[in-house]
């Protein structure tokens, strides 16, 4: 499969990328690892006329501690994230999640910023960021703004990013030593979750239970009110309207959400 023709520009800096986005407008797409965008372009589901490559900008890679948060460059690969001692110590749920994306080759190319911007409700990292209460630093013509995970995912494969903006860094609260759980139900190797659940300190996030990654708020409130894990997990699918496909109908997805939320709350991986 061959993508429609396009022009390619390697950005020299994040500022340069913003200038390019501004000049090309809606015809341009940002490219980092390309492991979400290129498959869509090969299928002609996307046909941007310009790709702006930000995948090798040093200023958008790397992981550092900043007070109570980890700051992760948007172009940091899943493999780097999964192997990072800092992330494994301070946000092990995120390191684990990154290590489950696709397969080793995909993790060598795919980036955290790309995965979040792609906003696939079945993907690992959007669910992980939501469970952890993280946020993204967004660069645009008007400067930098911080967008919480709750506010980032606006719809099916849709974010609240404005045209001309790019995700530059990801911020995640540092939570060393806290118990967490992560469940990803798949039928095939290197597949997306049919349903996923991630839990840490009473927060529960679900993957593929709707058009965006979701908090299991009824279950969270029950836990906060003193319910047992088993009782709370029974409420994990409350208020969700998951889609149906050949893998699972709605009832089965709801069942999976309850079971996987319980296992995640039991801190199983």
């Amino acid at each position: 499969m061959i993508a429609a023709p396009f022009d390619y520009v390697a950005a020299e800096s994040a500022t340069h990328a913003l200038e390019l986005l501004d000049s090309f407008g809606d015809d341009a797409k940002l490219l980092a690892g390309g492991h979400s965008l290129l498959p869509m372009m090969k299928l002609r589901l996307a046909a941007p006329s310009v790709l702006i490559d930000i995948g090798r900008l040093a200023e958008l890679t790397g992981i550092r501690a900043d007070g109570d948060e980890l700051v992760i460059g948007a172009a940091t690969t899943h493999a780097t994230l999964a192997a990072s001692d800092l992330v494994r110590a301070d946000a092990p749920l995120l390191a684990h999640s990154a290590g489950l994306v696709g397969d080793p080759q995909i993790r060598h190319r795919g980036t955290i910023g790309g995965s979040l911007a792609h906003a696939d409700p079945a993907a690992d990292l959007p669910m992980a960021l939501l469970a952890l209460g993280g946020s993204v630093e967004v660069l645009g013509g008007d400067g930098t703004r911080n967008v919480a995970a709750e506010d980032l995912f606006a719809g099916f494969f849709e974010t609240s990013l404005e045209p001309g903006e790019l995700i530059a860094w990801v911020r995640v609260p540092r939570r060393p030593g806290r118990a967490w759980g992560y469940q990803k139900f798949v039928r095939r190797a290197n597949d997306w979750a049919i349903v996923g659940a991630a839990a840490i300190e009473g927060r529960i996030a679900l993957a593929n239970m709707g058009p965006v990654p979701l908090r299991a708020r009824a279950a969270e409130q029950a836990l906060a009110g003193g319910a047992s894990v088993a009782e709370a997990a029974e409420l994990a699918a409350e208020g969700t309207e998951p889609g149906e496909d050949l893998h699972a109908d709605r009832g089965y997805r709801r069942h999976l959400a309850r079971v996987l939320a319980r296992r995640a709350l039991e801190h199983r991986t």
């Binding site: 499969m1 061959i2 993508a3 429609a4 023709p5 396009f6 022009d7 390619y8 390697a10 490219l31 390309g34 492991h35 290129l38 498959p39 372009m41 090969k42 790709l51 490559d53 995948g55 493999a79 696709g102 397969d103 080793p104 080759q105 995909i106 060598h108 190319r109 190797a189 290197n190």
Partner: protein, 181 residues
């Protein structure tokens, strides 16, 4: 646009379309046919090559994204007709059937062993998750990778060291791995 990169140790400069995939560049421009186009959807791993020593699926990398980097294909492992230890181990353990997945499988294994020189069987199976063998030949493939690991496979890029080894030594390593399995 003009792109400069290294392919199996050779510096190249070619005029390519931005949309030209790395796997098509390798096969059609460079004439290197080891990397296969299998699924063409980042799933099967038949197109796996090393980019700066790291395994990638070349059906989902643009040639222009590889600018300034070093690409290694299966052809680049067996310099001067001497099998790389992973290739020798695949032969020793009969880690192939029809052979279509083999170049990608070998490159994924070389990449895996450069990151984890002494993997467990589970780590080998997980490390090859991105490579499908439709002959259901995984058992011998895993044995081959373990055999190669038991013999000590040089890091990706250390080709000169690899090719200095004798086939007999590779065979001994493979047997040692089999005995230890």
């Amino acid at each position: 646009m003009q792109v400069e990169l290294g392919v199996n140790g050779e510096h190249r400069s070619d005029d390519v379309e931005p949309r030209l995939l790395l796997v098509h560049y390798l096969r059609e421009v460079c004439g290197l046919r080891a990397a296969n186009v299998g699924c063409d959807t980042t799933s099967c791993g038949a197109c796996t090559v090393l980019l700066d020593g790291v395994s990638v699926k070349s059906c989902t990398v643009l040639t222009v994204q590889a600018a300034g980097q070093q690409v290694t294909t299966a052809e680049g492992l067996a310099a001067e007709g001497e099998l790389h230890p992973v290739q020798a181990a695949f032969r020793q353990e009969h880690g192939l059937q029809c052979g279509f997945c083999t170049p990608g499988m070998v490159m994924a294994a070389v990449g895996l062993l450069s990151e984890n020189p002494d993997p467990s069987e589970t780590e080998v199976r997980e490390g090859l998750e991105g490579n499908f063998c439709r002959c259901t030949g995984y058992h011998n493939i895993v044995r081959a990778v373990l055999a190669a690991a038991a013999g000590g496979v040089p890091a990706a890029g250390a080709r000169a060291a690899a090719t200095a080894r004798t086939p007999a030594a590779g065979s001994e390593r493979a047997q040692a791995g089999q005995a230890g399995a």
